[in-house]
C-alpha cells in the first residue's frame, strides 16, 4: 500500500509549486494510473513517493511505514522505474543489476532466477554483458524494469514506463502489471497514453498544475463528466475546465 497524505512540494531553486496538497492512496492488489499534462507534477509526486524529494508538508508512507521516520525500511518495500533511463551508461548491464541486487540484499539464487525471468521476457538476456551505453532507449527502459523487480517488491512505482517500448514489450509489461496486482501487490504508474490507462487501471488520478483534480474509477469519472465518452475526452474536459475557471 502506498499513501500520500496532504503532500505539498515547491522546488527551492525555481520556486515552482509542483505539488499542492495531494492525497493519493494505492491499495493492495490495485493498478493505479496517474495522468496529467506535461509539467503537471507527476514526476515530482513520484519522487516524493520514493523519498527522492522531501515534501514541504504532508506525509508519505509505504506499507504503513513512514518515509520521513524510517526511510530505509520504506524504500526496501518498492521497486522504482525512473523516467530517465540514461543512467550508469558506463556500467555493464550485469554490473548494474548486481549493484541494485546488492543494495537490496538479494541473494545469488534469487537474483539469478529473477533476472533470468524478466530479462528473457524483455529479450535483453543475451546482451547483459554489454555496457548500458550501447543499449537503445527501449532496451535501457527494459533493463530498468528488470532491475526494479530484482528484489520482488510489494509495491511497484513506474514513471512513464511505456515510453520507447515496442508493442510486444509494452504488452508484456502490462501483463506483468496485471499479474502483480492479481497477486495482491500494488502497481502505480504515470502515463500520457489514455488507451493504456483506460484498459489497465483499476483506479486513476488526474493531476494538473500540481493539484489532483480527480481520483476514482473510470466509471466514476464518466458519471462525473456526465457522458460515456472516452477517457481521452473526459481528461481533456477536466483539464480544460480548470483552465477556464482560472482564466
Amino acid at each position: 500500500m502506498i499513501e500520500l497524505s496532504r503532500v505539498s512540494k515547491s522546488y527551492a531553486k525555481s520556486g515552482v509549486k509542483a505539488v499542492n496538497d495531494a492525497d493519493v492512496t494505492v491499495k493492495n492488489g490495485e493498478i493505479f494510473g496517474f495522468l496529467g499534462p506535461n509539467g503537471a507534477g507527476k514526476t515530482t509526486t513520484i519522487k516524493l513517493m520514493t523519498g527522492v524529494l522531501k515534501p514541504d508538508s504532508g506525509t508519505v508512507s509505504i506499507d504503513g511505514i513512514d518515509m520521513a521516520e524510517r526511510a530505509l525500511d520504506a524504500k526496501r518495500r518498492f521497486g522504482y522505474v525512473t523516467d530517465n533511463p540514461e543512467l550508469f551508461a558506463r556500467l555493464k548491464a550485469s554490473e548494474y543489476l548486481n549493484f541494485v541486487a546488492d543494495v537490496y540484499g538479494v541473494d545469488t539464487a534469487d537474483r539469478r532466477e529473477r533476472v533470468e525471468r524478466y530479462a528473457s521476457l524483455f529479450e535483453i538476456k543475451d546482451v547483459l554483458n554489454a555496457s548500458i551505453g550501447s543499449y537503445s532507449h527501449g532496451m535501457k527502459q527494459k533493463l530498468l524494469v528488470t532491475a526494479s523487480l530484482v528484489h520482488d517488491p510489494d509495491n511497484w512505482i513506474l514513471d512513464e514506463p511505456m515510453v520507447g517500448l515496442d508493442p510486444r514489450s509494452s504488452f508484456n509489461l502490462k501483463e506483468l502489471m496485471r499479474e502483480r496486482a492479481a497477486a495482491g501487490k500494488t502497481v502505480f504508474f504515470s502515463t500520457h497514453v489514455m488507451e493504456v490507462a483506460e484498459r489497465l487501471c483499476d483506479r486513476l488520478s488526474i493531476i494538473n498544475k500540481g493539484a489532483i483534480l480527480f481520483t476514482g474509477t473510470l466509471a466514476e469519472l464518466k458519471t462525473r463528466g456526465g457522458s460515456d465518452s472516452s477517457l481521452e475526452k473526459l481528461f481533456l474536459e477536466l483539464v480544460d475546465d480548470k483552465e477556464e475557471a482560472k482564466a
Binding site: D73, R90, L91, E116
Partner: protein
C-alpha cells in the same frame, strides 16, 4: 552568416560554460553574486599564475639576451613561442572538441551549411587560442617595452599579431585531423581520441616544463648559453621564426613600429594568416561535417549460447559497501575524461618521472652543485621532500572533490534506493582514499629510490603523504557535498568546469607549499615533520570524518534533483 554567428555563440557557450542570458525578472541574489565574485577571483588567480610564469620566462630570456646585446630577439622569440604553443594547445583542443556530443548529429540534420558548422567550431577553439597567444606576446612586449622604451605603436602591432598567430596554427591542426578522422575508423571514438589527446597533452606539458627548467637552471650561471642556444640569431627558434613568414613579419613590425614598413608587414601577415583560414573553410568543411557521422557508434555483442554460463558467473551477491565503492570506481575509470584527469595522473606522472630520473639519476646526484642539497637531504629534508611528493600525488586525483557532481544524473535513482546517505558518501571517500594511498606510496617510493633515503625517512615521508592526502581528499568531498555542480549536459563539465576541483588543486598546492616552507624554515627532523604533517592532518581528517555523515545526510536530502 547569421547561422554561423548563432552556432559560434552556441559552441562558445558550451565550450567555456558561460551562462546564458538571464531570464527577465530573475534577480541576482547574494548567493549568485558570491558565486560570481568567487569565480572571478579564481579566474584572475589562474591568469595571474600564468602571467607570472610567462613574465618570468620572458624576463629570463630578456636578461640573457641583453647580456650579449641581442634583446631585439626577444620579440621574435615570443611570436615563435606563441605559434608553437597555440599549435600544440590548438591540436589538443580541436581534437578533444572534434565531436562534442550527439547534439552535433542533430545539427547535421538541420539546414546548416557545413561551412557554417566548421567555421563556428573553428571560432570556438580559436577564442581560447587567441587569449593565450595575446597573453604570451603581451608579457614579452611589456618587458621589452619597460626595458627598451620602443615606440608605443609596437603594442598595437603586437596585439594584432597575437590575434593572427593562432589562425594558421589551428588551420594546420584541422588539415591533419579532418583527413585523419575521415579515414581512420578506429579513431572515430571519443574515448580513443581523449586517451590519445590526454597522453599527448601530458607529454607536451612535461616537455614545456623541461624547457622552462633548463632555462632557469642556466640563468644564473650561463646567460650567454641561453642567448646562444635558445633565442639567439643562430638558435632553432630564431631560424624557425625567419622561415615562418607570419612570425618574421610580426617581428619586423614590432622591431620598427613607427615605420611604414611596419604597417605593410602586418598587412602581409594578416593576408597570409587569413588565407589559411579561407583555405581551411573552403577545403575542409564538407569533409569535416561528413566525418562527424559515426562517432556515436558502439558495438553490441550478443552472448548467444553462452548466456546461461555468463549469468552464472556474473550474477553473484557482493558486499553491501563494496558494491557502492565498486560502482564509484567503475563510473569514474570508464569515462575517459574522468580517468585522464583523475586516477590516470597518479599512474602516469610517476612513470614519466621515474623514466626521466632513471636516465639522469647518476648525473644528477654527482653534480657538485648538489652537494648542499645532499647534506640537506641527510638531515631530514629527504623525508619531507618524499612526503610532499607523495602528498601531492595522493591528492591530485580530483576524485572526491567532484564525486557528487559527477554523480548528479544518478542522484534521483540513488536517493530512491535503501542506502544510508552516510554510507553512500563514505563509498566516495573510500574511492578517493584508495587512489590517494596509491599515489602517496608511489610518490614516496619514487623519491625514496631517487634520493636513496633510508627506511626511517621513507616511513616518516609516508606518514606525511598519507596524513596530508587523506585530509585533502576529505576536504574535497566536503566541498563538493556543500556545493556540487548538479546541472550539466556533458560529463566533462562535472570535473573540468567544476570550481571545486580548481579550488582543491590550488588549496593542495598551498598546503604542500606551506608545509614544505615550514618544515625547511624550522629545520624539522624527519620525525618532527612526520608528527606535524602526518599526525596532525590525520587527526584533522578523523575529526572531519566523524562530523561528515550527519552533514552529508542533510545535504543529500536537500538536493532537489
Amino acid at each position: 552568416m547569421k547561422v554561423y554567428f548563432s552556432l559560434a555563440a552556441l559552441y562558445i557557450r558550451s565550450f567555456y560554460n558561460l551562462p546564458g542570458k538571464r531570464a527577465p525578472g530573475a534577480k541576482l541574489d547574494g548567493k549568485k553574486i558570491g558565486k560570481l565574485v568567487g569565480m572571478t577571483v579564481l579566474v584572475l588567480f589562474l591568469l595571474a599564475n600564468l602571467g607570472v610564469m610567462f613574465v618570468g620566462l620572458n624576463l629570463g630570456l630578456y636578461e640573457s639576451l641583453a647580456s650579449v646585446g641581442m634583446q631585439g630577439m626577444l620579440l621574435l622569440n615570443a611570436v615563435v613561442m606563441a605559434t608553437v604553443m597555440t599549435l600544440i594547445i590548438g591540436f589538443l583542443t580541436s581534437l578533444s572538441t572534434y565531436y562534442l556530443n550527439d547534439m552535433e548529429l542533430q545539427l547535421l540534420a538541420m539546414p546548416i551549411k557545413p561551412r557554417a558548422l566548421f567555421a563556428a567550431k573553428f571560432t570556438a577553439v580559436y577564442v581560447s587560442e587567441a587569449i593565450f597567444s595575446l597573453f604570451f606576446i603581451l608579457s614579452a612586449m611589456v618587458i621589452f617595452g619597460i626595458k627598451e622604451q620602443p615606440h608605443p605603436l609596437m603594442y598595437l602591432w603586437g596585439t594584432l599579431a597575437a590575434f593572427l598567430v593562432p589562425i594558421p596554427a589551428l588551420a594546420a591542426c584541422y588539415f591533419v585531423q579532418v583527413p585523419l578522422l575521415s579515414v581512420a575508423r578506429f579513431l572515430k571514438n571519443r574515448q580513443t581520441i581523449l586517451l590519445v589527446g590526454g597522453v599527448l597533452g601530458l607529454a607536451m606539458g612535461l616537455g614545456f616544463n623541461l624547457y622552462y627548467q633548463t632555462m632557469f637552471s642556466r640563468l644564473a650561471t650561463d646567460p650567454a648559453w641561453i642567448a646562444q642556444n635558445m633565442a639567439g640569431p643562430e638558435s632553432l627558434v630564431a631560424q624557425a621564426g625567419r622561415a615562418w613568414p607570419p612570425a618574421y613579419l610580426a617581428w619586423k613590425a614590432m622591431s620598427q613600429p613607427a615605420s611604414a614598413q611596419a604597417a605593410l608587414s602586418l598587412l602581409g601577415m594578416a593576408a597570409f594568416c587569413l588565407s589559411f583560414l579561407a583555405a581551411a573553410v573552403l577545403v575542409l568543411s564538407g569533409a569535416y561535417a561528413k566525418s562527424l557521422v559515426g562517432f556515436n557508434e558502439v558495438r553490441l555483442r550478443r552472448l548467444g549460447a553462452r548466456t546461461g554460463e555468463y549469468l552464472d558467473r556474473n550474477l553473484r551477491r557482493g558486499h553491501a559497501f563494496g558494491t557502492l565503492v565498486l560502482r564509484e570506481v567503475r563510473m569514474m575509470n570508464r569515462e575517459p575524461m574522468y580517468l585522464l584527469n583523475g586516477p590516470f595522473i597518479i599512474v602516469l606522472m610517476p612513470v614519466i618521472f621515474g623514466i626521466m630520473l632513471a636516465a639522469q639519476k647518476d648525473a644528477f646526484l654527482s653534480d657538485p652543485d648538489m652537494a648542499g642539497l645532499l647534506a640537506l637531504l641527510q638531515s631530514g629534508g629527504g623525508a619531507v621532500i618524499a612526503g610532499l611528493a607523495g602528498a601531492f600525488l595522493g591528492s591530485g586525483t580530483s576524485i572526491t572533490c567532484t564525486a557528487v557532481s559527477r554523480d548528479a544524473k544518478a542522484l534521483p535513482y540513488i536517493k530512491s534506493l535503501p542506502i544510508k546517505a552516510g554510507r553512500y558518501f563514505l563509498a566516495k571517500l573510500a574511492h578517493g582514499l584508495i587512489f590517494g594511498v596509491f599515489g602517496a606510496v608511489a610518490g614516496v617510493g619514487l623519491l625514496t629510490w631517487a634520493l636513496g633515503l633510508g627506511a626511517s625517512d621513507a616511513a616518516a615521508g609516508l606518514a606525511m603523504a598519507l596524513g596530508l592526502s587523506a585530509l585533502v581528499n576529505m576536504a574535497g568531498l566536503w566541498l563538493d557535498t556543500a556545493n556540487p555542480r548538479l546541472k550539466w549536459d556533458n560529463p566533462m563539465a562535472a570535473l573540468k568546469q567544476n570550481p571545486n576541483s580548481v579550488i582543491m588543486i590550488l588549496g593542495t598546492m598551498g598546503l604542500i607549499g606551506g608545509a614544505g616552507y615550514l618544515a625547511f624554515s624550522q629545520g624539522l627532523s624527519s620525525w618532527q615533520a612526520a608528527a606535524w604533517f602526518g599526525l596532525v592532518p590525520g587527526v584533522a581528517f578523523a575529526a572531519l570524518l566523524a562530523a561528515f555523515p550527519a552533514y552529508a545526510e542533510r545535504r543529500l536530502a536537500a538536493m532537489e534533483v
